[in-house]
């Protein structure tokens, strides 16, 4: 009997301590919501950049890693302060709605087409994306798509369209609805082909057993922009914080860090800093 009552008392005390003492509260103006793509988190880039930014500015960054589609949707609702995304067409549309303030080029890397080493559709050796996708479609070999409206998914749909192939609903075309890392795992397990950004692929390469079968096509460029959300449209947005983060990403320091990221581990950078360049110079 006593034990039960003492348990109740102990629990209540613990509860009081936990709620009172811990949960650090951040002053409203000091936290920033960054909506971004899974590739920046899964590749480890943000874990490397954000602590430096936080230390330098005193802001606390709440990173919400979702697909670019969802990140942009969060921006449209004023639920984020700053976006780091890679879906240029969707971004352009977003800017037209007036939800974004400034959109700045940050960095690029590229997409690669990966698939099983056996390469049942004989994609290897293709010179263009169009050729490679046609081979996959004609052979009926499995293609695993993100299917989540992310930047990669948008890119992939554009490539199918460009190749004149209606991939949606085909038997050989499966959509996971998952992030890049998980989609790569699914493709590896099912011996399928998929389109991925190079950074996530390199970060996961050791566990996958998938090979790069096509790279270097100008159409496979993957460009990241940072966008500040417009406080005139959404008064609750932390505009100063969003600007500070965007400024950091394009600053000399931020750009230098981006260029060095991954060199030690993979022998080559995962992202190439592009701040200040014109998108046209990248072939857009």
């Amino acid at each position: 009997m006593k034990l039960f009552s003492s348990l109740v008392i102990t629990l209540a005390t613990v509860a009081a301590l936990v709620t009172a003492g811990t949960l650090p509260a951040f002053a409203a103006g000091k936290s920033i919501i960054l909506a971004t793509t899974t590739s920046t988190q899964d590749s480890g880039l943000l874990d490397y950049l954000i602590p430096v930014f936080e230390k330098e500015t005193g802001y606390f960054v709440k990173t919400i890693a979702v697909g670019s589609g969802q990140a942009i949707a969060m921006g449209e609702k004023g639920e984020a302060d700053v976006l780091l995304v890679h879906s240029p067409e969707a971004e352009a549309k977003f800017m037209k709605t007036g939800s974004g303030m400034e959109r700045r080029l940050v960095m690029h890397n590229d997409f690669v087409l990966v698939g099983p080493a056996k390469d049942p559709a004989r994609v290897k050796g293709s010179h263009t994306t169009v050729e490679a996708l046609k081979k996959i479609a004609h052979s009926g070999a499995l293609f695993v798509s993100r299917g989540d409206n992310s930047g990669t998914h948008a890119k992939e749909k554009g490539l199918w369209k460009g190749a004149g192939i209606n991939q949606a609903g085909q038997k050989w075309y499966q959509e996971t609805g998952l992030g890049m890392g998980q989609t790569l795992s699914v493709a590896a397990e099912k011996h399928g082909y998929t389109l991925t950004d190079r950074a996530t692929y390199l970060a996961l390469k050791k566990t996958l057993g998938l090979q790069i079968l096509l790279e270097g096509d100008a159409k496979l460029l993957n460009i990241y922009h940072v966008i500040e959300i417009n406080p005139a449209k959404w008064p609750k947005v932390n505009a100063a914080g969003g600007k500070a983060f965007a400024d950091f990403m394009v600053s000399r320091k931020g750009q230098g860090m981006i260029g060095k990221f991954g060199v030690e581990k993979f022998g080559a950078p995962l992202f190439f800093p592009d701040a200040g360049k014109k998108p046209e110079s990248l072939g857009l």
């Binding site: 034990l3 949960l23 566990t207 959404w234």
Partner: protein
């Protein structure tokens, strides 16, 4: 097989080294789910007891609703809590989306029907004459309710375990309302999802093992209390 072995080795290594980040993540899981369970006990046991003792038309309908709520999908809860807590949503002025507080709220919503449902069943399962007996001995109504709850404490502790087990293991709501922010709202389950998608399967396995260990420790503690309390 190698991977599983590596995962075990990694778990032991992380625990042995008292890895700061892993400890923080584990502690946060415990804190969030523990607080949520306590809240659910307050709401679940009071509402469950009231529901069990009251008689009103439509009671079966309400009890059915509570029982359905016991299987409330965490992602559904996560989605609605997110929508409610959005900056520009009804409770936006609280500014608690993507905080541990939001995770506690979501988890409490998940656990409350579980505790409530088990409370209803436990109280209703007491001998029907007990109530009359207690009242006949001159107890006041609040005294009677307290005695009934104490009589039902064994199944109620099972309710605590079910509620806690339900929330510490859920990931859908935590990732939606918490956002899996490093050092702030990252708990064992959301970290496991992220490490899996990063391809760090050894770390993911290590985190899963820690989660299982934690659940076992808590349940062992509660079971000991429950079994020691067994009426002779």
């Amino acid at each position: 097989m190698d991977l599983i072995y590596e995962g075990f080795a990694k778990a032991v290594a992380l625990l042995a080294a008292l890895d700061r980040e892993v400890l923080d993540i584990t502690w946060l899981s415990l804190k969030v789910s523990g607080t949520a369970t306590l809240l659910s006990l307050v709401f679940g046991i009071t509402s469950g007891t009231a529901l069990a003792l009251a008689n009103f038309p439509g009671k079966r309908l309400v009890v059915s609703a509570v029982n359905t709520g016991m299987g409330l999908p965490p992602v559904v809860v996560g989605l609605f809590v997110t929508i409610f807590l959005w900056r520009n949503g009804p409770f936006g002025s609280l500014d608690i989306l993507y905080t541990p507080t939001a995770m506690i709220i979501a988890q409490a919503v998940i656990a409350t029907p579980i505790v409530c449902g088990i409370t209803v069943a436990s109280i209703q399962n007491l001998p029907p004459n007990l109530r009359l007996q207690i009242l006949a001995l001159g107890a006041t109504r609040p005294q009677m309710v307290w005695l009934l709850i104490r009589e039902a404490r064994l199944p109620l502790l099972a309710g605590v375990m079910a509620g806690f087990g339900g929330v510490i293991s859920e990931v859908g709501a935590s990732i939606m309302v918490g956002g899996n922010i490093k050092g702030y709202t990252r708990v064992l389950t959301t970290a496991t999802v992220m490490e899996t998608s990063k391809g760090n399967f050894d770390v993911a396995i290590a985190l899963s093992l820690i989660l299982l260990l934690l659940c076992f420790a808590i349940n062992y503690l509660l079971t000991r209390i429950q079994q020691r309390e067994r009426p002779r």
